[in-house]
């Protein structure tokens, strides 16, 4: 058993024994015996089922915004990127500050494909991760490590950015064509929590219920824009998509522009307003 697992279990047992939290959302080993899945520990015995390894891909802060959990004191196991979600959600007042964040020093998560042939290659987000020690957590599990150099997170954008508008339009038509509008991408995103999503609103009916080209396009344009300055880059939306639409490209594009224009990176600082919630009178942006 790794030190991380021992550390998490000890901390969670303590939190539950002291009744500091009602329950803790963490990971356990799934039924395939390999891949982790979300797990809710209510008792000190259940705390011993918690694990942490390089298959813990889910961003568990998603559970915290579920309406039925409001009013409970919850503990949650977070990787550094998940901790950025927590910062965004706290700034948006989605739950009270008394949530207990158990931050784990993250070794990186591996890619898993449905087709099997599971390699041990790190996920795209982990290859360019520059924050392996969780920021601003209540409890830290693992040895804080010195962070490596800041890597180019946006390299993946260059080929598409180099194309003409018509080529990009054709590229996205092909991608969105496959979309089933299953909304898994939305359901998995911690920052997507509206009680009524525009995509399903009937009055006015913005998108339309039909799974058609025009409808899919509008869903994707706006889903992405609703994450502008809020997406923390976990790529979970892309991972869960059953038809492999490269949503990570869209999100990355906006993260890049938000960083370039406003020097803002979602979830890294709690003392800054998200870029679309504020302005500076004197800024010109690149307008006349």
């Amino acid at each position: 058993m790794s030190d991380l697992v021992t550390g998490i279990r000890a901390q969670v047992r303590d939190l539950l024994a002291r009744r500091r939290v009602e329950y803790v959302v963490g990971y356990e080993t799934g039924s395939d015996g390999v891949n982790a899945r979300p797990f809710f520990a209510y008792t000190t015995e259940e705390a011993d089922r918690l694990v942490f390894d390089n298959t813990c891909t889910h961003n568990l802060t998603k559970y915290l915004v579920e309406p039925e959990r409001r009013g409970s004191t919850i503990g949650v196991v977070v990787k550094p990127c998940d901790a950025r979600s927590l910062t965004v959600l706290l700034a948006e007042h989605k739950f009270p500050r008394d949530v207990v964040a158990i931050g784990v020093v993250c070794p990186g998560i591996v890619q898993r494909t449905r087709e099997g042939g599971d390699g041990e290659a790190p996920q795209a987000r982990c290859q360019v991760c520059d924050q392996h020690t969780p920021p601003a957590c209540d409890i830290l599990v693992g040895e804080a490590t010195a962070e490596g150099p800041v890597l180019d997170q946006f390299a993946r954008l260059a080929p598409l950015e180099a194309q003409s508008a018509a080529e990009r339009s054709a590229f996205w038509s092909q991608q969105f064509e496959r979309c089933l509008r299953c909304y898994a991408c939305r359901q998995t995103c911690p920052q997507c929590y509206c009680d009524e999503c525009f995509a399903e609103a009937l009055d006015p009916e913005w998108v339309g219920v039909r799974i058609g080209r025009a409808e899919n396009w509008l869903f994707h344009a706006i889903r992405c824009f609703h994450l502008a300055g809020r997406c923390i880059g976990c790529d979970e939306c892309e991972r869960v998509c059953p038809v492999k639409i490269p949503l990570g490209l869209l999100n990355r594009k906006l993260r890049k522009e938000v960083l370039d224009r406003f020097e803002y990176r979602a979830g890294t600082r709690s003392d800054e307003r998200p870029p679309l919630e504020t302005f500076r009178k004197e800024e010109k942006l690149d307008l006349a």
């Binding site: 508008a165 018509a166 339009s169 064509e177 025009a214 344009a221 224009r261 500076r280 942006l285």
Partner: protein, 167 residues
Amino acid sequence: MAQSTADTPRTRAGQVEPTAIWQPRLVGFLCNWCSFAGADMAGTSRLTYPAAIRIIRVPCTGRVDPLFVAKAFQRGADGVLVAGCHPGDCHYAEGNYYMRRRYVLLRDLLEFLGIERERFHLEWVSASEGKKFARVVSEFTSQVAALGPREPPRQGPTELEAGTSNE
């Protein structure tokens, strides 16, 4: 002839010269207090500007939800103009400052999705700037006309719905 835009066969973007027949379809979101009044001023001053623009009055540019803009493009608009009070002159004090940030990011995203940045324009036009309004609309119309018709996200079912990928 109002029908002509819809009936003109569309060829690929960039290949169509602005002609007497093809006029771009433009949507303009104008704030009630400045730019809508500016458009009114253009009218009462008998200034002419291209009739290709369909004007939608909004209380403030701050009210312009990105969804309005994307919806216009989804339904086949060739260009979208947003116009409102100059910075500092917003009737609600700061709506246009929010719009300004939203605009630059939305333009970045739309461009990445394949809608040229020249098709989405933000302009400040005050109530007394009737002349400016006419000029802005003329310039924007020729700018979009030069790009040619946009290929809107094709209407119709996806492959999936048509059953081709069910095999």
